[in-house]
């Protein structure tokens, strides 16, 4: 990559006024560094991921509304977590966390267990219990 080719596209970085450092060659073929505001292929890749996450959140919301899954799944997706990350934050085995996605099991959870989830999602127990997918 030549220094003058270091991309200066608008994207998620430029929006936040952040520039990243790239390595490129100058007119004499010597390596130097240059700041980049963003690059379109990266922006598209990131948007693809964000869209994917938003779809997962929306699907979870609808499933909660239809009583198929517990609010835990919705908040897990909202926080970009998966089962491994969530089980690590609440300090419980994965199989146990996965069992809590069933609405019937979730309803019977004690406040002590719920508080672990609420803390991981940075919400109150009430907000967690009363989320109906609306």
């Amino acid at each position: 990559m030549k220094k003058e080719e270091v991309p200066q596209d608008k994207g998620n970085l430029s929006k936040n006024n952040i520039k990243e450092l790239c390595y490129a060659i100058d007119e004499n073929g010597n390596y130097t560094t240059a700041l980049s505001t963003g690059w379109e292929p990266k922006t598209i890749a990131l948007q693809n991921s964000i869209q994917d996450i938003n779809e997962r959140i929306e699907n979870a919301r609808v499933d909660v509304k239809n009583g198929k899954i517990s609010p835990i799944v919705y908040f897990m997706e909202l926080h970009k977590m998966d089962w491994v990350v969530l089980s690590s934050y609440v300090g419980m085995w994965i199989w146990r966390v996965k069992r809590h996605r069933k609405p019937a099991v979730f309803k019977r959870l004690s406040n002590k267990v719920l508080s672990k989830y609420a803390e991981a999602f940075e919400i109150s127990i009430e907000e967690l219990k009363n989320f109906k997918g609306e």
Binding site: N12, E20, L21, Y23, Y31, K42, A45, D52
Partner: protein
């Protein structure tokens, strides 16, 4: 309290922290030098390990490896401490700052308040330096940012004790011994040899062979899992290759810069030629990213596009195999 630490922006967090901490101790070492001596270039593919719901593809070794290997080869001793308790982690850090020691930390990205929302994923192998504390705020030098920033006690505690894969457990590190004489030549040679060995490893998921395996799997992703999932996998791959930290082209340009810097030290003119070749390969990785992004943008349905991406990647693998063989001979 504040140490007289100087912030330099870098492409990658780990090289940057290493380079900045060593510069503070009087060793003038650039980011590419840390990266090259620490054998930072690598490729591995772990289809069964899912990251962001896609197979794990990495262009670098496990977190901590680059700095550890570079330090070992330069004869520098680095102290690393993990904590089971948040309080003692903060006390140890403050103790260091009182003794005028800027300290490297491994942190999780998800709760880093100064990162844009879009970049906050559950990734726990980010690195930054704490170089002081003022009015209950820690002074932070994050090498991927242009300037220094601050975090409150609670904010820093949260990122130091992020959970999930590669949880940092409050890990902090700093050089404790710097040798009077440094054998640059020997360190560079060791770094290059190690890189050649890894990139040419006879394992289907590592190095050049790993790139080939991914290339062959791209059309399979589309056939077996459908275009939507294949496109998601490709997008994740491009992000690992190009997102903040690689300096472009999956670290290939940083490596080319390293070879150029190493040539006069080893008095080896072949390294200039090899640096040029690596730059060309880096440009091909950039082209691959451009073409992959076209696929998931247009949502094209032909199986052809996946096959042509696959061919492109196989071509890169061939060039890299040849490159690392020549590099091995040149040393």
């Amino acid at each position: 309290m504040e140490t007289n630490f100087i912030h330099h922006q870098s492409a990658h967090c780990e090289n940057g922290v290493a380079s900045n901490l060593l510069k503070h101790r009087g060793i003038n070492i650039s980011e590419p030098m840390v990266f090259g001596i620490g054998s930072g270039i690598l490729f591995f593919y772990l289809p069964l390990l899912k990251v962001n719901h896609a197979p794990a593809i990495s262009y670098r070794p496990m977190p901590g490896f680059i700095f550890n290997r570079a330090a070992k080869r330069l004869g520098i001793k680095v102290k690393r401490v993990k904590f089971s308790n948040e309080k003692s982690a903060q006390i140890a850090l403050e103790e260091n700052l009182k003794n005028n020691i800027p300290t490297g930390l491994q942190v999780g990205v998800y709760h880093l308040t100064y990162f844009p929302d879009e970049y906050r994923f559950h990734f726990n192998a980010h690195n930054l330096v704490v170089y002081g504390k003022k009015d209950n705020h820690f002074l932070i030098s994050d090498p991927v940012m242009e300037t220094v920033t601050t975090l409150t006690e609670a904010e820093l505690e949260k990122v130091r004790f992020a959970k999930g894969a590669l949880a940092p457990k409050g890990q902090m590190y700093y050089p404790i011994h710097i040798p009077t004489e440094i054998d640059w030549e020997g360190a560079i040679k060791k770094g290059i040899k190690n890189t050649c060995r890894e990139m040419l490893a006879p394992v289907p998921i590592v190095g050049v062979k790993g790139i080939r395996t991914v290339a062959k799997n791209i059309p399979k992703w589309a056939n077996k899992k459908g275009n939507k999932i294949a496109n998601h996998y490709l997008a994740q791959m491009v992000r690992m290759q190009e997102e903040i930290g690689t300096g472009g082209g999956g670290f290939r340009f940083i490596y080319a810069a390293f070879l150029q810097e190493a040539a006069p030290i080893l008095k080896n003119d072949k390294l200039y030629e090899l640096s040029k070749e690596m730059t060309k390969i880096g440009d091909l990785w950039r082209d691959f990213a451009v073409n992959a992004s076209r696929v998931y943008k247009n949502r094209s349905n032909q199986t052809d596009v996946y096959n042509s991406l696959s061919k492109e990647l196989l071509h890169i693998a061939d060039l890299e195999e040849n490159f690392f063989k020549m590099l091995k001979k040149a040393i």
